[in-house]
Structures are given as structure tokens and as C-alpha cells.
Amino acid sequence: MGLLAKSSVADLEAAWQGLSEPPSYDFLRAPETGLAQVRARAGGTGLRFNLGEMTMTRCVVRLRDGTSGYAYVAGRNRRHAELAAALDALLQDPAHRDHLQATVLQPLVEKLQVLRQRRAAKVAATQVDFFTLARGE
């Protein structure tokens, strides 16, 4: 679910359109945009506190066979939540899971990895070794 939430809506749309027979579904909960209060901890590990809010959209769909799919995605894109929920529902079905894993999820994983590694390499190039100079000795 995290992967579907982090992928771009364009990629999810392409994945959905690429299905040989995209199933139809109903909304158990139509896409709804609201807020998540983001918590953090003092010092990173201590007392919890509320840092601020972020927008998020949730959606629940049901396939014809009764399988439900859930989505909770950052931002306000209703279509993103809808597609993520529909794909989540399909992934519940053992008959589809392996195929979807290979054709949809794996490419999304790789795409995010490439982006992350490209950024990390540029950041790593700014790693520095500071030398201190002893004075007065």
C-alpha cells in the first residue's frame, strides 16, 4: 500500500490501463480528502508531539467478487486514491497477486529506487571530511 501511495498517479493510471481486463468496482467509501496530524518525538526518540498536518485522501472500493481494497495516500488527488484502492483490491486475490507483483509493483519499486539512488549519489558527493588545525602547540 505504501508503494502505491508513493507512486505517481500517472504511473498508476498506466498500470491500470495496462491490465488485460481491468475489473469494475464500487466505492465502499468514495475518495475523500482530509488531514492527517503528523506526530513526531522530541529529540527524535522522546515525548510525542504534534508537528503539523498534511493533506491525505482515502478511498475504499469493492470488486464484484466482494474483495475490498483500501488506499490512504498523501495529497489531494482523488484519482490516485481510487486507483491505489482498486489495485490494492486486485492484489488481495491470489490469482492476480503474483502477476501484478511482477508487472505492476516491481516496476514501481524499481522506478522509486532509481530516483532515490540518483538523488543519494548526488547527496553523497557533498560528503566532506573536515580537518581541524591544532593551534598554539
Binding site: A5, L35, A42, L47, M54
Partner: protein
Amino acid sequence: MYVAVKGGERAIDNAHRLLAEDRRGDPAVPELDLKQIEQQLALAVDRVMAEGSLYDRELAALAIKQARGDLLEAIFLLRAYRTTLPRLAVSEPLNTAAMAINRRISAAFKDLPGGQVLGPTFDYTHRLLDFTWAEPHGADTGTDAATGKTLPQAMPRVLQLLDGEGLIEPPRADAPTRPVADLTREAMTLPAERDLRLQNLARGDEGFLLALGYSTQRGYGNTHPFAGEIRMGEVAVEIVPEELGFAVEIGEITVTECEMINQFQGSAEHLPQFTRGYGLTFGQGERKAMAMALVDRALRARELGETPSSPAQDEEFVLYHSDNVEASGFVQHLKLPHYVDFQAELELLRRLRANASDPSPDADPNDHGPKP
């Protein structure tokens, strides 16, 4: 006291039209789109999200455009917008130790595990206007990704290095059942616990916190700070939806975190040890995170048995004046019609002056109560 004024609808409409015209500027100049603001004025977007207390880059960009670049006005717009949305979830506490690092430095330890990573910083720039930016720059900035260096998988917290020896106060354990203060739900009350203070500071005005932090350095409640660690990057946000009962990641946000190491003299009960100040902000906001950490530490005076003597240590002063939406509202309300108040003051002043030149027994020069 304000009085209702009637009329002026047409003038107001025209004022708004004029505002729209000025917002657009010279039509011969291409109009900004939100993506441009989001990408190229990213730090303005970050500040508006942090103080608007709402992480949504596109909304912040819209607010900046609508506010003509007035960031405080944009923050106000974002705050107003958030009240229109229902709260769907509360996240699990962010795990900043698992951050995808964009920057990570320590001014206290030179050789720290994981290394010093400068990232996209203004530090070490010469602060000379660079006229090459007056022209379109193209996409290639020559970023060097081929140094062969890699970032370690995990970047340990710098302050943990001191933890082992007991040289720094341990972070306070947090009972999972403890309710977390939320000033968006309940009005702030004093004395404020640290969770409420940190929430207040996280959305507080950067300029105000910067000045207060600076004041502590100049001796008004000095806490001898060291920037133990500053890190900036993306962290995952997880929620536990009721209907699922397990944590799911909804996305990533960029945050900046600062941990200050501060001196503490010790007391009858405690050996001298370092104490902590903490700053965390949405987006890339190092100055804000550092200022917040200084003020957080100053506000811990009571808890650490120090005698508060300076503005930055006075929680009522700090917490009730940190919010720029409230501050801006109260300062700017002076523009509202105060005609009756002013007439009363005018009358009073005339009377006082008349009495001074011709004192008569029935005049009461003390009759000038404060304005509401």
C-alpha cells in the same frame, strides 16, 4: 469597540479588481504557474507549509501566488483552508533516524559515523549576487554524482554518542497512552508541557523564534548551545487506519531536524550533564529548526530547575506571541473602524485640556478607562 459601517460595496469590489490586476502584473510578462513556484521558490513553499502547519506543496504554492509573495498572508490562507478539511488520521511518530538524508552535519563532532553531508546548502556560498541567474540557466548544473561515495544505510543520531557515557540527559520516556496536546483542538493553557510548546514552536513565526534564539545567545538566558546535529531529508509518514489495524505508509515528507546540545550546571540531585533542545520543521528550514531548538531549550528552564529571567524563558511571552497569524490579525485589526473609540478619546482630550486651563469642580480627569 467597532461600529458597523454600511456602504462601500462598489469601492470594495473595485479594490479587489485592482488587487487582481496588480497580482497579475504586466500582462506582457508570462504568468507564474504553481509548478514554477513549487520548484523554484521551494524554500518559500517550505516556510508557508511549516508556519501554515499544513504539508501540501501545491496548496502552499497557490497561497504564495494568491498572496503576491506575501508569505505571512499565504500562511494565513493555508491555515484558513485547513479548517475546511476533516481530520482523517493521526500519524505514527516520525522516525527521523530512518530519514533519506539530504543533509546531515554536526558542529560538535568532526568525525561522526555516517559522515558530514553538506547537501544543498547556502553555507560556503559567498553571498555575492550571481548575475548568471539573471538569465535562464538550463537544467544542467553540473551536479557531480560520480564521486563513488555512497551514503551509509543508517545514520546514527549524534546525540546517542554521548548517551552511552551518561554525559547527556536521556530522552524522556513516553507512555504510549499519554494524551498528546493539540492546540488545534483545545485552546492553549499554561503552564504548557513540552509537547504543547513544541507544537506551538513548530508553527511559530520564524522571525520571532530567530530573534528569541539570538537573544539567548547574546546572554538573555544563555544555554551555551552546540549544534549537535542538523539533518534534512525525507521521512515516511505512517498511519494506522482503524479498519485495518496495521500501519500503512501514506507518503513521504521533507523535514529538517536540529538537536542542540546545551550546558547544564547540575543541581543538588543531578550531576552536571548536557541537556537537549529540539527543533523540527516541515520542509527545508534549517534556520527555523535551529531557532526552535534554542527556544525549546530556553523554555525548559522550569523543568531543569533554572530561574527564568529572560524573554525566551518566559513561556507565556513566547507561546502567546509566536503565532504570526494571530499576531498579524491583532496588529492589523487596528485598521478596522475605531471611529466611536476615537471620538470618545477626542472628546476626553478636549475636556482634559479645557479643565487644565479652567479647572471646575465637576470634572474628573481620571475618567478615561482603557479601551476594550
